[in-house]
């Protein structure tokens, strides 16, 4: 397959062999693990709710890819703006969306981010500086480029960041966004989440050459990183952000990972070789970060219990919430003339680097 997953060594060295990360404190490293644990716990809980018929429509998760959204988002500043995609629940958590709000979203409750107007992963909470995805992939690359364009035009030290999958790179909007960002040298970070499949389609039917190698053809760097190493994803994004803010232009980061569940809850992914899944199970991003945290002397089990309890509590709250009022179904088609029109607010930026 024409992926560079073969090119980069994937799979943990023992934490002992690793040199400590330059830009992450012990708290950061624990925080990264906690966010990944929280993402997984919420998605697993939601999957149960789906099986119980409490989640309408379909359900998509990012099982096995937690490091990509969590690691990248950890490097974003409060004033940055993100377009979060459908495997990236961790981004919402790091930016500050509450678990109960997310579970309400999945269940179409009024307390969900979109108050039931859109479902599952199709949301973005502008109160955390995020713009929700549309299904059409990868349309948000252009929206992210546009936000970055505005930042550059106004001379603001901010960047925009978005994710997209291997399959999404085949769409024209990928090209228009890459070219636009290159020509205008925009402070935008594109994260290609290469999880080996687009629904059932393997990457070798999607492209003949790995898209990360196309970045040069647009005039900016493309870097490949182990997408199951949350600290590596963080570091690549941190560097890309530093360049972006300094006027260095865009970066395309390929995070090599694997979609460990079906495309959606309905998909048994018969089409994926069992061996491939087994190989990747050994590279679980949470196991890897857990080992590091243990090495730091952190109590991973306590962390897991804490997260489990938090999710149980959130589930109770979400289940107790009402469905939206049908009478509101036709409201808010147009924004009132007098109201404020810039609504995105800064999100959480837990990285210690912003507090130093």
């Amino acid at each position: 397959m024409a992926t560079s997953s073969t090119d980069v060594p994937i799979g943990p060295r023992t934490p002992a062999e690793e040199s400590p990360p330059a830009h992450l404190t012990a708290d950061d490293r624990i925080g990264l693990l906690r966010a990944m644990l929280l993402m997984r716990a919420i998605e697993q809980r939601a999957m149960n709710l789906y099986r119980q018929g409490k989640v309408p429509g379909s359900f998509y998760d990012g099982f096995g890819q937690e490091a990509v959204s969590v690691g990248a988002t950890w490097a974003t500043a409060a004033a940055d703006r993100l377009c979060v995609l459908h495997r990236d629940l961790g981004a919402h958590l790091v930016r500050g969306v509450q678990p109960a709000t997310i579970l309400s979203q999945y269940m179409g409750r009024d307390a969900g981010v979109t108050s039931g107007r859109d479902g599952n992963v199709h949301f973005g909470d502008y109160r955390t500086g995020c713009v929700g995805m549309v299904s059409m992939l990868p349309d948000m690359m252009l929206v992210a480029a546009g936000m970055a364009m505005a930042f550059k035009l106004r001379g603001e030290a901010r960047c925009a960041l978005t994710w997209f999958g291997d399959g999404s790179t085949s769409r024209g909007d990928f090209h228009e966004a890459m070219n636009w960002a290159g020509v205008q040298s925009l402070p935008v970070i594109f994260i290609l989440e290469n999880n080996q499949f687009a629904y059932s389609t393997p990457i070798d039917q999607q492209f003949a050459v790995n898209p990360v190698q196309r970045a040069a053809g647009y005039g900016f760097p493309g870097v490949t990183v182990d997408g199951n190493d949350v600290e590596a994803v963080f570091e690549a994004t941190r560097g890309a952000r530093e360049r972006a803010i300094a006027g260095g232009g865009p970066t395309l980061i390929e995070a090599v990972t694997m979609r460990m569940h079906g495309h959606g809850a309905h998909d048994d992914m018969k089409y994926v070789p069992k061996a491939l899944v087994e190989e990747w199970r050994k590279k679980d991003p949470i196991d890897r970060q857990s080992a590091r945290v243990a090495q730091l002397g952190g109590d991973v089990d306590a962390l897991r219990d804490e997260v489990r309890a938090e999710v149980e509590q959130a589930t109770k709250i979400a289940l107790a919430g009402p469905m939206p009022d049908p009478a509101t179904a036709t409201h808010r088609l147009f924004h009132p003339r007098d109201a404020d029109e810039i609504l995105t607010e800064d999100g959480q930026a837990p990285w210690s680097g912003f507090r130093r």
Binding site: P56, G57, G108, R109, T114, S115, G116, R117, D118, G119, N120, H122, V134, S135, M136, L137, G167, S168, S170, R171, G172, A198, Y199, S200, T201, Q205, Q206, F207, Y271, M323, P324, D325, P326, A327, T328, A329, T330, L333
Partner: protein, 321 residues
């Protein structure tokens, strides 16, 4: 005759025509190994191979544009949009390349584009649309929307054989909910309307998924005799059948699931207002979705999509007019 679902009838039609005509080629995302998001082409790759059941890159303009090229040199591609909503990404190739090729330079473009459309299962704003009116407003495209398994099979075969670009609307809610007797072997359903139920007091004019809503809403309406006209084809539009229904019943309710402004139903209403005016005994009533994206959450979606109750109520009021 065998009983089968609407979905299996489409598969049956595709398989039948692929066996009869080596020029037929299926193209789409995940239609081969996976058998399609809705399994319409389940198992096809085993019988016809990956060349004729082509898993394509994730690129709607690419699917339509390459299909046009293949058609111009003699293949008969059938493109699947994974959901009708994604057709917006191939819109330009459809309306500007496929739709205008024959008129401009005399080259027919024999492609069929399958659009799994419609709401009712919490698909949300991007998996519930009924985009047929966009294509009705683009000259050079035929647009069909069968409502029964028998027609689904007959119209997919007719669409493939039609030398023009055909937008084939298949309502997702019919896939597994609607069953019916389907003739064996190969046959074509003409691109004309069908009287789904005879009647003389009021005519409900509709198509696709809403045909079943209309039948249920009107199967006993205080003994009134309600005709249900299933348009089946939107381009060409069976104007004679529509005007005949107006002459027969003098009262008309037009039902479509799409957002109401400039929808297929608007065209039908305009046609009646201009050419059926003298036969009317009451306003031309429309039932459609209000102009909002189709929301995800069940109570919201139910408030937006035309329901059996809304259709029945519209008919009752018009009968009293």
């Amino acid at each position: 005759m065998t009983e089968m679902t609407y979905l299996r009838a489409i598969s049956d039609g595709l398989r039948t025509e692929m066996r009869d005509d080596g020029r037929v080629l299926l193209m789409g995302e995940d239609i081969g190994v996976y058998g399609g998001a809705f399994k319409v082409t389940d198992g096809f790759i085993d019988e016809f191979g990956p060349d004729r059941v082509m898993d394509t890159p994730l690129a709607e303009a690419g699917i339509v544009g390459t299909a046009i090229g293949a058609a111009v040199v003699g293949l008969r591609p059938v493109c699947e949009m994974q959901f009708a909503d994604f057709v917006a990404c191939g819109f330009d190739q459809i309306v500007n390349v496929a739709g205008k090729m024959l008129y401009r330079q005399g080259l027919p473009v024999n492609i069929t584009i399958r659009l799994p459309s419609g709401g009712g299962f919490s698909g949300g704003p991007f998996h519930s649309q009924n985009p047929e009116a966009w294509f009705m407003h683009a000259p050079g495209l035929k647009v069909v929307a069968p409502s029964t398994p028998e027609d689904a099979k007959g119209m997919i075969i007719a669409s493939i054989r039609d030398p023009n670009p055909v937008i084939y609307m298949e309502h997702k809610n019919l896939y597994r909910h609607v069953k019916g007797e389907v003739p064996e072997g190969s046959y074509e359903t003409p691109f004309r309307a069908r009287v789904a139920r005879e009647g003389s007091d009021l005519a409900v004019i509709t198509y696709g998924g809403m045909v079943h809503t209309a039948l249920e809403a009107t199967h006993d309406l205080e003994g009134a005799s309600i005709m249900v006209l299933d348009l089946r084809s939107l381009v060409p539009l069976d104007e004679a059948a529509i005007l005949a229904a107006v002459r027969e019943c003098s009262k008309v309710v037009i039902v479509d699931e799409a957002n109401q402004t400039c929808a297929a139903g608007a065209q039908v209403a305009a046609l009646i207002a201009e050419h059926g005016f003298e036969d009317l005994d009451g306003p031309v009533v429309r039932v459609a979705s209000p102009d909002v994206p189709i929301p995800f959450s069940p109570p919201l979606e139910a408030a937006v999509l035309p329901s059996v109750d809304r259709v029945r109520e519209a008919c009752r009021q018009l009968l009293e007019y």
